[in-house]
């Protein structure tokens, strides 16, 4: 029985970000308690794509082999312009001398593997524990208050890691919450069967979804895929529809949608989720670090969030270790965490912001992007090449512009 004694760190949320943080803290010898409002395994609407950027963390946690065994690999991505032309590009990354593809594995399974890895490593863990408040004293976290099995409970700690996801009330309490409708996406996911001619990951960009939104197809088998909608709140508002209606309209009323999914079958229900992106808000406070969706770490163009959450978990663990050694849990010390996260991901966010603004913002931009990429296919051009060679954006100037909010 896990008791309610004081801890060095309380991790709020047992998803992939929280589990990564708690696992690495346990490895560093920190007394850590992980609290989860739900019960694992639990579902989470997502594209389910686990990309090579996160493989080192998965190896460290001992779940990599399982992901490879259960996941469905995809080596290529196709980006479709509204006029049916598309560009096909490699989706593999060289990792320790090997070409690693993306694996599509249901989050119901993946999150459970990661969570179990942390629990099996000896992390103290409570489920059905809804954290409702961080107890603050003089701007410094002193523990948490929450509801556990229908009883109000308080637990003390030196630090709190917020990995409580995109809807986190506690993150809002701390002022971490992203509310800009251009940077809050809504995702919708369904599993479809009986899809014909499925080879690669596919992205579609109907006009209504722009800027930056899309419909995705991530193969989960030879004829089945995880299909979803990714759209900003502001674009969704303009359509006057729900995300569900948008997907059905695409399937029912557009040439490409009908061709792709007109004869496919939806398995189960469509599920949705809120996706705050761009890491534009602070992610730290006195004794508090936010990880993953609670820190708005989703890419503001690509929509990926798994690597950010899991890598940020490792950074939070290291920062916590340093803070305990220095016996300093102040806001100033926690800034080290935010800086390290920026260092790890600022290139990604800057690139994503540039893609949003210059390559996928309007139907014309999209057409130009896909044309240019097709023209330069022989050179194995990347999206970065398009930004810097095709659009001739100045990398330093771009970084300067985009960095302003970090």
């Amino acid at each position: 029985m896990t008791d309610m004694k004081k801890r060095q760190v309380i991790v709020v949320g047992g998803g992939i970000g929280g589990s990564s943080a708690a696992f690495h803290m346990k490895q560093l010898g920190i007394d850590v308690l992980m609290l989860e409002k739900d019960q694992f395994p639990r579902d989470k609407p997502c594209g389910d794509g686990v990309i090579p950027a996160v493989f080192p963390v998965l190896r460290n946690m001992g779940v990599y082999d399982q992901v490879v065994a259960e996941g469905y690999p995809s080596g290529y991505i196709r980006l479709y312009a509204p006029d049916d032309t598309y560009f096909r590009m490699s989706n593999t990354t060289t990792l320790e001398g090997e070409e690693a593809p993306m694996y599509c594995i249901p989050r119901y399974r993946f999150d459970d593997m990661v969570n179990k890895a942390a629990v099996n490593a000896g992390v103290d863990y409570l489920e059905n524990f809804e954290v409702t408040e961080i107890l603050m004293e003089r701007g410094q976290a002193k523990g948490i208050r929450g509801i556990h099995n229908g009883k109000a409970v308080e637990i003390e700690s030196d630090m709190v890691v917020l990995a409580s996801g995109s809807h986190s009330m506690v993150a809002r309490q701390m002022g971490f919450y992203e509310e800009n409708p251009d940077y809050v996406f809504y995702g919708l996911r369904g599993y479809f069967n009986d899809i014909e001619g499925l080879e690669d990951v596919e992205f579609y960009y109907p006009d209504k979804f722009l800027p930056t939104g899309y419909i995705w197809l991530f193969p989960t088998g030879k004829t089945s895929a995880n299909v979803g909608v990714f759209i900003t709140e502001s674009a969704l508002k303009k359509t006057g529809m729900t995300s569900e209606e948008l997907l059905w309209e695409w399937i029912g009323n557009t040439h490409m949608g009908h061709k792709r999914l007109g004869h496919a079958k939806l398995i189960g229900k469509l599920k949705g989720w809120r996706l705050p992106s761009g890491k534009r808000k602070p992610i730290y406070a006195g004794g508090v670090m936010a990880v993953g969706d609670a820190g708005n770490m989703i890419e503001q163009y690509g929509g990926g969030g798994i690597p950010q959450a899991m890598v940020a978990g490792t950074i939070a663990a290291q920062t916590a270790k340093n803070a305990i050694q220095a016996n300093d849990f102040s806001k100033a010390f926690m800034k080290n965490y935010s800086d390290a996260v920026d260092q790890a991901f600022s290139a990604t966010y800057i690139g994503m912001e540039a893609l949003r603004q210059y390559a996928f913002g309007t139907p014309e931009q999209l057409k130009n992007t896909i044309n240019w990429m097709n023209e330069h296919e022989a050179e194995d051009a990347s999206m970065q090449d398009y930004l810097f060679k095709g659009l001739k954006l100045d990398p330093t100037k771009l970084a300067g512009q985009m960095m302003s909010h970090f």
């Binding site: 809807h167 986190s168 009330m169 919708l188 969704l236 995300s243 569900e244 949705g272 809120r274």
Partner: protein, 546 residues
């Protein structure tokens, strides 16, 4: 020589929307009307977020114009007292109730809670907050609370005839404003229909007596056994400046049916009064209650407890038009009471010595206002019964002159018959008496209120709140309650009430317009929560920079 004095505003008040519980105290006291209520948007854009269907972003914004605070006829803020209770400010929470409601515990037992119908948690997440149960818990906790005596500010004296819910509310509100109020009651006890007609299994009568004694202690004068009628008015006019008549509708109506005076034909008021005054009433066999309203349901449920083997309600209306609330009908049905809808009784069968039942006919095209309908020819049916009870509404006993200086409140003033509506009518009467006496148009946002859409940054996400699903208050099971007059619904245990407060999504908050605010700081002083309002430099506007 004219001197122009220019005052520079240096500071204004600001409300922290994340801490505000939306009780509205600040807005009541603000001298310049700078404070208004806002409702947060509740995100429901994903299809599986809760049990309910997803809505569009426009609909999210549209829903910001509803609120529990708009639905209480007395103008209570459910979110306010729930938020104060959650913050550990139990006494302030009770005071919020007491300030606007002279009978908070009574309402905690029997209010038909329109606020719960409008609770957005019920519309968008799972089921509404148990607002009434929380109010009941809070008011019972403070049932022996001794309030500060009413202030005496004005010389004017006010007479209120009738110590039912409407009269008591008018008395409370006028006393709070500083008038000297006397309430005349023809019975031997103040409380009106609450004591006479409400069954014990819905309302504990000790609670009514305690709340009335609290009003007495605070300074309302009750004169009991005072049988006043239109002939007493001249004397009253000499002694009092305004007269409010709240004598209610104490007499049951009956239908002019053949045999309607037979021995086993009763009226609802008759049965309930006898039961409540401790007289023994024994029913047996099949009891037919004519009527489909709340009183009919109470009477039918009382009949079950008085020994009837079978109870059937018959009424004109059908489907959703049946006037009783859905939850009342469900509780009645759980106790084995049948409801025959869409019929009109035509004859009482039998005589005093030989009661055989009631004959009815099916009807169609019922006009809900005039109660005109067409009979379905040839649909006459005989319903065997040992007792017939009329519960088709009540009428006044005394004919008061309608076109004079009297102010009417409660059932006698209109056609609404619920307790909370009667109390709201008492409040309106108090406001109009005050307006007439003071010669001003009182800001009556106590009754009429509006909300504005709040900024999107304070949005609420039901997904995070969905898990908080606690037990509603304990209720007796149907078999136990059929045998006794014990109150069916029990009060929350303290820990359960506190947990229930967590379910509140805190949809609303108050906002101070910095352009209108004069920086007087009254709002800061009156805020019952204490950590909500601060002074900030003008023209700093909006929330703090991160």
């Amino acid at each position: 020589m004219a001197v122009e004095i220019k005052v520079t505003k240096t500071a204004v008040s600001r409300i922290d929307a994340n801490r505000c519980v939306n009780c509205g105290t600040c807005s009541y006291y603000c001298p310049v009307g700078a404070i208004s209520e806002r409702q947060k948007a509740i995100c429901h854009l994903c299809p599986d977020c809760t049990e309910m269907n997803a809505i569009t972003p426009d609909k999210v914004i549209e829903m910001q114009s509803n609120a529990c605070t708009l639905s209480c006829p007395l103008g209570l803020s459910p979110q306010g007292f729930i938020g104060l209770l959650k913050a550990g400010r139990d006494e302030e929470a009770f005071q919020h109730l007491w300030n606007k409601n002279p009978l908070p515990a009574v309402c905690g037992y029997i209010c038909h809670h329109p606020c719960e119908q409008d609770c957005k948690r019920g519309t968008l997440v799972d089921r509404p907050m148990e607002i009434r149960a929380i109010q009941r818990f809070l008011s019972e906790k403070f049932i022996d609370y001794v309030p500060a005596p009413y202030p005496v500010i004005y010389d004017e004296r006010i007479a209120i005839i009738g110590a039912g819910p409407a009269g008591i509310t008018a008395a409370h509100m006028l006393s709070k404003k500083g008038y000297r109020v006397t309430v005349f009651e023809q019975g031997s006890e103040a409380g009106g229909m609450l004591l006479r007609c409400l069954p014990d299994f819905r309302l504990d009568k000790d609670i009514v007596r305690k709340e009335i004694s609290r009003l007495e202690k605070a300074g309302i004068r009750f004169i009991l056994n005072a049988k006043l009628d239109e002939t007493s008015l001249d004397q009253l006019r000499k002694d009092y400046d305004r007269i409010i008549v709240a004598t209610g509708n104490p007499v049951s109506k009956t239908l002019p049916l053949p045999n309607n005076r037979a021995e086993n034909v009763w009226t609802a008021v008759n049965v309930m009064e006898r039961v409540n005054s401790g007289k023994s009433v024994h029913l047996y066999g099949h009891v037919v209650v004519i009527g489909g309203g709340s009183v009919a349901v109470d009477t039918a449920r009382t009949a079950v407890r008085l020994g009837a083997e079978k109870v059937t309600m018959i009424c004109l209306e059908s489907g959703k038009a049946v006037p009783a609330h859905q939850w009342e009908l469900e509780e009645a049905s759980a106790e084995g009471i049948d409801l025959i809808e869409g019929i009109s009784p035509t004859r009482i069968l039998g005589t005093s010595s030989d009661m055989r039942g009631v004959e009815y006919i099916k009807i169609k095209n019922l006009d809900p206002k005039t109660f005109h309908f067409d009979k379905v020819e040839g649909s006459d049916t005989e319903l065997a019964a040992d007792f017939v009870i009329f519960a088709i509404g009540q009428k006044p006993e005394i004919k008061w002159p309608r076109d004079g200086d009297l102010i009417f409140a409660g059932d006698i003033a209109g056609d609404q018959c619920s307790v909370i509506d009667a109390m709201a009518s008492g409040l309106s009467a108090a406001i109009s008496a005050d307006n007439e006496l003071r010669g001003h148009k009182y800001r009556d946002y106590e009754v009429e209120r509006t909300v504005e859409a709040g900024e999107l940054e304070y949005k609420i996400y039901p997904a995070m709140r969905q898990k908080l699903d606690f037990e509603p208050p304990y209720t007796l099971d149907a078999e136990t309650r059929k045998k006794s007059f014990e109150t069916v619904e029990k009060t929350f245990a303290p820990d359960k009430a506190e947990l229930e407060t967590w379910r509140c999504m805190q949809c609303g908050y108050h906002y101070i317009d910095p352009e209108v605010c004069i920086g007087c700081g009254v709002c800061m002083k009156v805020c019952p929560k204490g950590d909500v309002i601060s002074m900030v430099a003008y023209p700093q506007n909006g929330r703090e920079e991160q």
